[in-house]
Symmetry: C2
Subunit: 466 residues, 2 copies
């Protein structure tokens, strides 16, 4: 007999009165004095489990049903009936129940149905998707990823797979993971005693990428609208609740566009994916609002309905200087804003998402377009209440002479980026884009406090378990 | 004025008679004696460029229009009119033309409108999306990626981001890239003189993953239907037209499923994505059929309409032994089939896709489910005419004692995979899945001969350019 997902049953297919078959895992079992057992069975397809009523007359009731514990896997057939309990519309009256897999030593089962700390769940990352909270995170994460792909597909963007292994260090950031196949016990050396990377797999020194942007710009310069969505890496020794060494990033890039177009795109995209998650994952979002962060839903609703404020960096600094608030880090024109400044702007001053535009060139990357004032570049950050920076982007410098000048000033060797300079040599166009840290987006949407709890197997300093 | 994509114009929006604005790049320019110029303008949104007719009365005709060369970027407004030329329905009669970016020294422009070899295009990977062929590949690749995500989304699969950096070597394959932040000039060593990885970023030796399967199995064991779609890595020194060091892989995993369910899923998925590409990228596919591989379309059509043959490995070997064909590599029970054997089965014997099932356990991975015959495991490969193996999968060993026995036999240290063994300890279920090399799929669909031409920036031995 055809198996139905619990999600489809709770949505009304098949209908009450029909025979159904479900396969999943026991969340809880409760036995009544009347000789009935009530099983909550989940299969991952939605937040709610389905209630299965098992009468003592069923085969193996005593030997199996009464021994079921949290985590056992089962295959059940029965009739779908209107439920008498509250909070659920239907339940299954079982006619057949097969235990597919038992739980070894239920007393020590790590995912017992009590409340666990997030630290504990992280240490059991291979089992935590069995819990309400990690299951809900997984479904919301999936929904957001699909919404992002759909948003771009509907707008004729091309998904471009930019490389992960690279010989160039895009941002000049320096915090890179090296990729190598050299024998570490016996490194080849050149005649100066330095490691001889010409003997390495790629014939030169290679790293994991920190961004696909430079590569995707080359596709933008002929396909017009493109984006990447893939893993990026930072070998930063940051043990915080906001940093991962390996994280997923979304980077759209649009041609014939200025900074304001990039801001429009980011605003439209954020609203689109927030709307999608509220519609498609109402069950999980209700759970987050109830158990994790009261404002999980209202925060997204207010963003969907708000027009993002746009403010020049220079004006934002003036607001911070004049606001009378005590900040840990002093404010003056030229600073790279700290989280406290960003949150003050979004949460206290404007009380909605803010797009700060035109930052000082000295704190920004070489490829950002120079404004006519000689001091700023066409960069933007989107600051959202409750999290601070969620998107960072810029218009790119499309004028070869200005790009070269900036590379010289910042000591960026041109020979490695000749191909990038070619894009300005041949049919250059104004263009720009932004980066969205996908894992941070998931923390923002769910209200989860730690980014390590929204990615299946987090990679952080000294931690590469599983 | 609102900009329209060339794709939407050619599909009929806006309609003939209306004003339009397009932005893109010149593919060719042709001047008539009557004092008109015909420009072919592309913007990446579809295969065909749009024809723009420019009369000599337009501003800057002599100083700019007559100097336009391939690759220049332009911004054009005009009226959409029925075209008199054949092969196109509409053209634009320009009322305004702005040159956004010129081509430096058109004589040496690397993407001149003549035919280039694929080797040459590969050396100019940053500019090749401007060509017909690489543009068509980019659109088909995008379409296939979206079709895969859509296929799984519609079937309630969760997209799971499994880790790229890992401490475990899933397949025992050995051909791994090391990931490290240790100072190569000054490696820390322990008291035995060995490299001290406890000082490395993650506190132990780490590598780039060869598969997300083991990790995604943990999500399968509570979410029921899951998949990964991300980059994987092989440090194999294979300089062939079929191998990349960095490639994208799709790996679904389903619970409560046996090998036959995995085969069903793979067959359904392949047919779904082939249908999608024929429908959504008819323009690009027509180009591939015309210029790259005559059978590009018919091959996909015949697969969509065929029922895949399923044959036991043992029977497949017998067919090969008895067929009378001369093979380079001898055939006998127990061999890992070579490409020539796989292609014989798919192309000559069955003349359609073949799913070979139940391979000898000695040539397969430790996690595959052992069959009752004691000799084979529940593994499958899908062999397709024209390419050979396109999908490889298996049912996984869900019985802890059998898994342990196989790990012992194959000398796989259990302590690293305790978490994986836990999945069999707690509510285990029969489950399985497969891996699809996404880049190979793109070569198969387009008929492109070399896998390096279907990924934007290929990584292969001694090659990490761009």
């Amino acid at each position: 007999m055809q198996v139905s997902s619990i999600s489809s049953i709770l949505k009304g297919t098949p209908e009450s009165g029909q025979k159904v078959r479900v396969q999943g895992w026991i969340r809880t079992r409760r036995d009544s004095k009347a000789g009935l057992s009530f099983l909550a069975v989940h299969d991952g397809s939605c937040f709610d489990p389905i209630q299965v009523v098992v009468e003592s007359s069923i085969e193996h009731y005593e030997s199996q049903v009464l021994k079921l514990t949290t985590g056992c896997s089962v295959d059940i057939e029965g009739e779908l009936k209107p439920s008498e309990g509250k909070g659920q519309s239907v339940e299954i009256l079982a006619s057949r129940l097969e235990v597919v897999g038992w739980v070894d030593d239920p007393e020590t089962y790590p995912m017992s149905p009590k409340r666990h700390t997030f630290e504990y769940l992280r240490e059991h990352a291979h089992l935590r998707p069995r819990t309400n909270v990690s299951g809900a995170v997984a479904r919301v994460r999936n929904c957001l990823a699909h919404a992002i792909h759909r948003f771009f597909y509907e707008r004729e963007f091309l998904y471009v797979h930019t490389p992960l292994i690279t010989a160039s260090d895009c941002e000049g950031a320096g915090e890179l993971f090296r990729v190598s196949t050299l024998d570490m016990q016996n490194l080849p050396r050149n005649d100066k005693g330095a490691v001889d990377y010409s003997k390495d797999f790629f014939g030169e020194e290679t790293f994991l990428t920190v961004s696909g942007q430079l590569n995707v710009e080359s596709y933008c310069q002929s396909m017009s609208r493109v984006y990447t969505f893939g893993p990026t890496f930072r070998a930063e020794n940051s043990n915080t609740s906001r940093h991962l060494a390996e994280f997923w990033m979304v980077e759209p890039e649009i041609a014939f566009a200025d900074l304001s177009d990039c801001a429009d795109l980011a605003e439209e995209m954020l609203k689109y994916v927030f709307k999608a998650v509220l519609e498609e994952r109402a069950d999980d979002m209700a759970f987050f609002a109830q158990r994790v962060d009261k404002e999980a839903i209202s925060r997204l609703e207010s963003i969907i309905n708000a027009s993002f404020v746009r403010v020049d960096y220079t004006d934002a600094i003036r607001i911070l200087e004049e606001c009378g608030e005590k900040f840990e880090f002093p404010v003056s024109w030229g600073i790279d804003m700290a989280s406290e400044h960003e949150r003050y702007l979004a949460e206290k001053h404007f009380k909605k998402p803010v797009i700060v535009m035109n930052y000082p060139k000295d704190i920004k990357a070489f490829y950002m377009r120079q404004n006519d004032d000689g001091k700023t570049v066409a960069a933007m950050d989107i600051l959202a209440p409750g999290i601070g920076e969620i998107v960072g982007g810029s218009q790119r410098e499309e004028r070869l002479d200005r790009l070269d000048q900036r590379m010289d000033e910042m000591d960026i060797p041109k020979e490695h980026l000749d191909w990038y300079r070619d894009l300005r040599r041949y049919g250059t166009v104004p263009h720009g884009g932004f980066g969205l840290g996908f894992d941070r987006l998931v923390t923002y949407v769910t209200g989860m406090a730690n980014i390590r709890d929204v990615i299946p197997f987090p990679r952080t300093p000294k931690n590469v378990a599983f």
